[in-house]
């Protein structure tokens, strides 16, 4: 597992008590209880944690793998600056 995935799993565990081992990153977020409100809060936490602006154009993610991909892209763009 590369990039920010472990940190994302850690954030989710801390905020929602969801065991990282129970999460398949390619499973829909809704399957482990993250509805649109929880996702909005998670993105807010992600922005704080990583010090990034999550792009609104990429808000429509369905899996944790997609979410991690966006975060890695944004962080990559930041580190390249």
């Amino acid at each position: 597992m590369t990039g920010c995935m472990n940190e994302l799993l850690g954030l989710i565990q801390k905020a929602y008590d969801i065991d990282p081992a129970s999460i398949d990153p390619h499973q829909p977020l809704a399957d482990f209880g993250l509805d649109s409100l929880a996702l909005a809060e998670l993105m807010f936490n992600i922005e704080d944690h990583f010090g990034i602006d999550y792009p609104e154009s990429r808000a429509n993610v369905h899996t944790l793998a997609e979410l991690a991909q966006v975060v890695d892209e944004v962080r990559g763009a930041i580190s390249l600056k």
Partner: protein, 406 residues
């Protein structure tokens, strides 16, 4: 139209005295006050009745996303009321309503949002859904699968009394069969407490014993103690309750509503008289039928005297048969949830035929010349009917009437 009889089949609460109705009522009968000193973030000391509440019993962390303390306590009280009612599986959701009163809604989330904005920080994306006044009703409806009306009433201190009255009307009219009705309030946050302090209606904290700060009907009364919590009743049509062999706690006899249409905060005896008479008429009751009144009794100088004058006017020579107490002396003023908590206490008074005292009133004011229950609980062995009064800022007066289910 034939109106259906309405009964109360479940009681639930999250209150300054706890979340077990029997324990709470016993504490009230013993005259035990839950009012204590409070101060936060430099707020001047206040006497308040707060709740030792953990949401962990009712929500996992994921379920708590965007759920303010007011909704947490509302859900807890509703779940307890459902359990008390023996809430069955397989109900028709469209025949169930939710009727909730709240003065402020999510005060903590609102204050946190303002604080973040003021400090130039980002505001939580869930501030709106946590703050909106109908959030408690929505959360209760989701949990109960209640697909009928889910209404929220914000009528200041009468909010949840209005909610219960409206729920009963909907059941009586046949619109629904069951309702979860009550109120929730959780506004013990610095900004809100400061606003109430500025209005100068709060009790001066008693330097010797802060628990005795709120003294309804007493010569030395100085105002009320802010409280928080939630109280819920399960109401249903009598036929529905009997068909499912529900535990009937009392009968909802009727309600009376009026508006002073006179002043934003100053109470008006004429308006209260109209509400009291409307409640008696609605319940097919005479004044002499009522053995107990759980008074609005906020311990303001003007309010208590006006309320007693209204009672004397309606009861006339029958006033000697009435017994009056204000339990706000012990559980504080739950504002939007006050009417529901006091309705619950009134139902338990009917059930047990024991009425709680205004424990903190030791020197009754001559202007409050009604038969007050002072010092200790009073046994009322022939009690058949009781009322609970809620008189709101804005001038709305609500009186709920209950009778025993014998």
């Amino acid at each position: 139209m034939n109106m259906r009889d309405v009964v109360i089949s479940g009681l639930g609460l999250v209150s300054p005295h706890g979340d077990d109705p029997a324990v709470v009522f016993d504490a009230l009968l013993k005259g035990q006050s839950a009012i204590a000193p409070w101060s936060r973030d430099g707020t001047a000391p206040a006497a308040v009745a707060s709740v030792d509440f953990s949401p962990a019993r009712w929500f996992n962390k994921l379920q708590l996303v965007g759920v303010d303390r007011v909704s947490q306590m509302a859900v807890a009280a509703a779940e307890l009321a459902k359990a008390d009612a023996g809430w069955p599986a397989g109900l028709d959701g469209e025949r169930i309503g939710v009727f909730i009163g709240s003065g402020m809604g999510g005060a903590s989330a609102l204050e946190d949002g303002y604080e973040a904005a003021r400090l130039g920080k980002r505001v939580s994306p869930l501030t709106v859904v946590a703050t909106m006044t109908n959030a408690p009703a929505a959360h209760i409806a989701i949990r109960a699968g209640a697909q009928g009306p889910a209404y929220t009433y914000s009528v200041a201190c009468a909010s949840s009394a209005v909610a219960i009255a409206e729920a009963a009307k909907a059941i009586a009219a046949g619109d629904i069969d069951m309702a979860i009705a009550g109120g929730a309030e959780a506004l013990l946050v610095p900004g809100v407490v400061r606003a109430w302090q500025a209005l100068q209606t709060l009790a001066t904290p008693d330097a010797t014993d802060p628990s005795q700060s709120c003294r309804p009907f007493d010569t030395h009364r100085s105002g009320f103690a802010l409280g928080e919590g939630a109280a819920m009743l399960v109401l249903e049509s009598r036929e529905h309750a009997l068909a499912r062999q529900a535990p009937v706690r009392a009968r909802f006899a009727g309600s009376g509503v009026s508006c002073d249409a006179a002043h934003m905060t100053k109470p008006d005896a004429a308006g209260q008289v109209r509400a009291l008479r409307n409640a008696l008429r609605s319940g097919g009751l005479a004044a002499r039928d009522i053995g107990y009144c759980n008074a609005h009794g906020t311990a303001t100088r003007v309010g208590d005297a006006v309320e007693c004058a209204a009672l004397r006017q309606v009861w006339g020579d029958d006033i000697d048969a009435l017994r009056v107490s204000s339990t706000k002396s012990m559980h504080g003023h739950l504002l939007g949830a006050a009417g529901a908590l006091e309705a619950l206490i009134t139902v338990m008074t009917l059930q047990q035929r024991q009425a709680p005292p205004t424990a903190t009133c030791t020197a009754p004011d001559e202007a409050c010349n009604v038969p007050l229950i002072l010092g200790a609980a009073q046994s009322l062995p022939s009690l058949q009917a009781a009322i609970s009064s809620s008189f709101a800022f804005g001038g709305t007066n609500v009186v709920l009437a209950f009778t025993r289910h014998d």
